[in-house]
């Protein structure tokens, strides 16, 4: 009934006019189905095992004045299945079998997901289209596209040299059987001596001697280590490699890091000097001539010796005829240095200690002793210095002549730097481009809730990798006009992330399973309390957490909900009303989001405190110790030339430089495996 009818037509007109004017870019039905399919995979991967933190959520109420109002950490849980799942499940509570990808009509249900051309494992028989060729030792090296081929930049770390002789008093520490192993004096390196000792079964003896006599270790390691050497080779076809004789400027002969991007090699060093900290950057596009620039990265020394400010060159990418460096500044506090001398000595002598920091001050827990609390004022500080000093970024730009300029980083500018279409691109949740490193233009924004971890050019587009709003791996193609298109990343037998700004879209990834190892529940694991005629039970167990509210009079269940780590609503369980400074435990229906129950946070906090004997520490983050298992990581190659079709291959031993050890161009894909490199012919 509406007794104010005169507004009806106006309301219809206004609402329809407003609605019609909206420019909405709606996702196709198939895209929604794919999104739902990914969630189903994640839920199925959980296998019903949930390890969530409802009690921890409640603990926020207990210690609510300490931190953020209601942020609840949730774990992203992997999809461990590999089969495509394009169709709606038959029933929410029953079958997954009907999602079999063999069902005809699947492509009618949703836009086709391109099945990635999975390459065979490199140790398997390879078809002609995936010729695998070994071409020499891999070692610690990065590879990248270079001109029409590839470049390999290897850093070799020379073995630690040994002194020719040891002083007699140290020599006398060794038993004769060890001295007999080296009748002509010590070998030139520690590696060689270790090998001899190990072969003789006497390495443990020497290790124990060094442990008992630190002066012996100091003598053995007295010689300065030899500098890191860069070894570079190039190839036009990925098969024949030509070593390049390098004549690097002395300042970067032992570089802190190197990068190859857009047919240029950058090497840089960060050197602390007595009058400050400096970074030296050398850039070359022919591997012969180098342009070297040094700039200072001041650390902003503070008057308080306990407060440390640090600066670091995070990334460098070429831009124009020069380069742009992302320089970060951050601060940290050396808590121990602030403590009274006697407490500091106690800390130094203890086997274990921990700190808890909040706006009020610091709490020190030394061993099993009573926690010690100090306000910031007592420590001579004006509040928590770290909270007041967030890490900051600036861009340092050098032109071809070596002129250096400094620029404030655009907002939200933490991200991956790479080059694309002749520009440098900064990829975070926002994708920004710059032709000079100083002036940035926002080109695109990833979908809300999405995050970027990696980026690489693919043709005239940019592929961005990261995660979507529910934590699943996700990828997007960015066109030069800023259009963002979601791409389907390949399914692998485990979860993975593609990290780092690259010059080509090839990654070696280590698969992992983020399903939390069940932890032993803290005691008590169940909290029960009365509220408004209800008996409410909060329960945490190794398989999940739940809340059940029962009508005290009738025994009827009024609200019931079980939470798993991937439940996006989990973070709304504990709600904080800033206006009234009140908090609530809110239970919603899993499917509809309808509110089922709302309990004042104080009531919950009191119940938890009572159950836990007011010992807040018990609900702070109980240690989770996964059972010790043999570490046997599974590595895979993931690469694409267009963002649509992805190449994958199981890699037995990719070496230590995971993030830079694979590269792809139009004709070949190369990556390390074991002691050799592998090449897949793409037939381009």
């Amino acid at each position: 009934m509406n007794d104010l009818p005169d507004l009806d037509d106006d309301l219809r007109s206004t609402l329809n006019g407003t609605a019609d004017a909206l420019d909405l870019e709606l996702a196709p039905a198939g895209e929604l189905a794919q999104r739902g399919a990914r969630r189903r995979r994640r839920k199925r991967a959980l296998g019903g095992v949930a390890a969530t933190a409802l009690v921890a959520v409640v603990a926020v109420g207990v210690v609510g004045t300490r931190g953020d109002d209601s942020t609840v950490a949730t774990a992203d849980v992997a999809a461990a299945t590999t089969e495509p799942e394009l169709l709606p499940p038959a029933d929410d509570a029953t079958s997954d079998a009907t999602t079999d990808d063999t069902i005809d009509g699947a492509t009618d249900a949703a836009p086709a997901i391109t099945t990635p051309p999975t390459m065979p494992p490199v140790d398997a028989e390879a078809p002609a289209t995936a010729a695998v060729t070994a071409f020499g030792p891999s070692g610690d090296a990065l590879v990248a596209p270079w001109r029409d081929g590839f470049i390999r930049v290897a850093r070799t770390f020379p073995a630690q040299p040994l002194p020719n002789e040891l002083p007699d008093e140290l020599r006398a520490l060794f038993p004769q059987e060890i001295l007999d192993l080296f009748p002509d004096g010590l070998p030139p390196t520690i590696d060689e001596a270790t090998r001899v000792l190990s072969d003789a079964g006497l390495l443990d003896v020497v290790t124990e001697l060094i442990s008992e006599h630190p002066e012996l270790g100091e003598a053995l390691y007295a010689a300065d280590p030899l500098p890191v050497e860069l070894q570079i080779a190039t190839t036009s076809d990925g098969l024949d490699w030509v070593p390049v004789s390098l004549d690097l400027p002395a300042e970067i002969a032992d570089p802190t890091d190197v990068r190859v991007s857009d047919d240029r090699l950058l090497a840089w060093s960060i050197v602390p000097e007595t009058d400050g900290q400096f970074a030296t950057v050398s850039i070359s596009d022919d591997l012969t001539t180098w342009r070297t620039t040094t700039f200072d990265i001041p650390t902003d020394a503070t008057s308080d010796p306990a407060i440390h400010r640090e600066a670091w060159v995070q990334q460098i990418a070429p831009v124009g005829d020069g380069w742009v460096a992302m320089v970060s500044r951050s601060s940290w506090i050396e808590w121990e240095a602030l403590l009274p001398d006697d407490v500091r000595r106690e800390v130094d002598a203890s086997d274990g200690w921990g700190t808890s920091v909040d706006d009020a001050g610091i709490e020190i827990q030394i061993g099993d002793g009573e926690p010690l609390q100090y306000t910031w004022d007592e420590l001579g500080l004006d509040g928590n210095p770290e909270l007041d000093d967030e890490p900051t970024l600036e861009f340092v730009v050098a032109d071809a002549a070596g002129n250096v300029s400094r620029h404030t980083a655009p907002d939200n500018s933490w991200g991956e730097l790479t080059t694309w279409n002749g520009q440098v691109v900064l990829v975070g949740q926002t994708v920004s481009v710059s032709s000079d490193g100083a002036n940035w233009t926002e080109l695109a924004i990833l979908p809300e809730g999405a995050w970027a971890s990696g980026a690489a050019p693919v043709g005239d587009q940019l592929v961005v990798t990261g995660g979507d709003d529910v934590g699943d791996p996700a990828g997007w193609l960015i066109a030069s006009d800023g259009t963002v298109t979601e791409v389907e990343l390949p399914d692998l037998p485990g979860q993975y992330s593609l990290w780092g700004g690259r010059d080509s879209a090839a990654w070696i990834v280590e698969l992992y399973d983020e399903t939390l190892a069940p932890s032993e529940p803290t005691e008590p694991a169940t909290v029960t309390f009365d509220y408004d005629g209800l008996v409410v039970t909060l329960d945490e167990s190794p398989t999940g957490s739940s809340v059940v509210a029962v009508d005290a009079a009738t025994g009827a269940i009024v609200a019931e909900r079980t939470y798993s780590p991937d439940d996006a609503e989990n973070e709304n369980v504990y709600q904080y009303d800033e206006a009234t400074d009140t908090s609530w435990l809110v239970i919603t229906d899993e499917s509809t989001g309808d509110e089922l129950l709302r309990i004042p946070g104080d009531v919950v906090a009191d119940a938890v405190s009572e159950a836990y004997g007011a010992d807040e520490s018990i609900v702070d983050e109980p240690a989770v110790e996964a059972p010790a298992e043999e570490w046997n990581p599974d590595y895979w190659l993931v690469a694409t030339t267009d963002g649509g079709d992805w190449y994958t291959a199981d890699v037995a031993d990719p070496g230590p430089w995971l993030n830079q050890s694979a590269a792809v161009n139009g004709t070949a894909l190369i990556f390390p495996d074991g002691d050799t490199w592998q090449r897949i012919d793409l037939g381009g």
């Binding site: 507004l7 039905a29 809300e448 989001g593």
Partner: protein, 170 residues
């Protein structure tokens, strides 16, 4: 949860359900997104809320499709999800809530549009349901999971509030 297929879960049945979901999406997605944008006063949020609600509908389509008004279910889930996101944004953003994204901003010169922004979320939801979605009160009640009397009450209060706003604006 079991992995066993139910007796009706044949490939053909799945195809029918899939097709049914697509048809539903094509018919309702745009309308739901615009309705949710109006109800949540944010075009982006409305679009995302519709996508989220439809994704959830896909996940349990065999159940939702049997409802008398599946769009009502989507509207309610979208509203719940959108409000949940708004709560989170309020925590994350200290400044005014999405001033640039308010769908009624472009109609600031329209008194009624401006007045609509002053309605509470619950009142706004029933107004949009009645005057944009053209749902009967009973359908709105069913969609929002509240008694019909509550819908009527909210409508009455909402309209009274709008009248007051318009009077004070003159």
């Amino acid at each position: 949860m079991t992995d066993a297929a139910g007796p009706a879960d044949t490939a053909g049945a799945v195809e029918i359900r899939t097709s049914s979901f697509e048809v539903f999406c094509e018919r309702e997605q745009d309308r739901m997104a615009r309705a949710l944008a109006l109800a949540l006063d944010s075009a982006d949020l409305g679009r995302d809320a519709a996508a989220e609600a439809l994704t959830r509908a896909w996940e349990r389509w065999s159940t939702v499709a049997d409802y008398d008004n599946p769009a009502g279910w989507v509207y309610r889930v979208g509203l719940n999800w959108g409000r949940s996101r708004l709560r989170r944004r309020r925590r994350e953003v200290t400044s005014a809530l999405l001033p640039d994204a308010a769908v009624t901003d472009r109609h600031r010169d329209d008194q009624l549009a401006r007045a609509l922004t002053t309605l509470s979320a619950d009142h706004r939801a029933v107004v949009v349901a009645k005057f944009y979605l053209d749902w009967a009160d009973a359908d709105t009640a069913d969609a929002l999971g509240v008694p019909v009397g509550t819908v009527k009450s909210r409508l009455h209060r909402a309209l009274a509030h709008l009248h007051d706003e318009l009077r004070s604006d003159r």
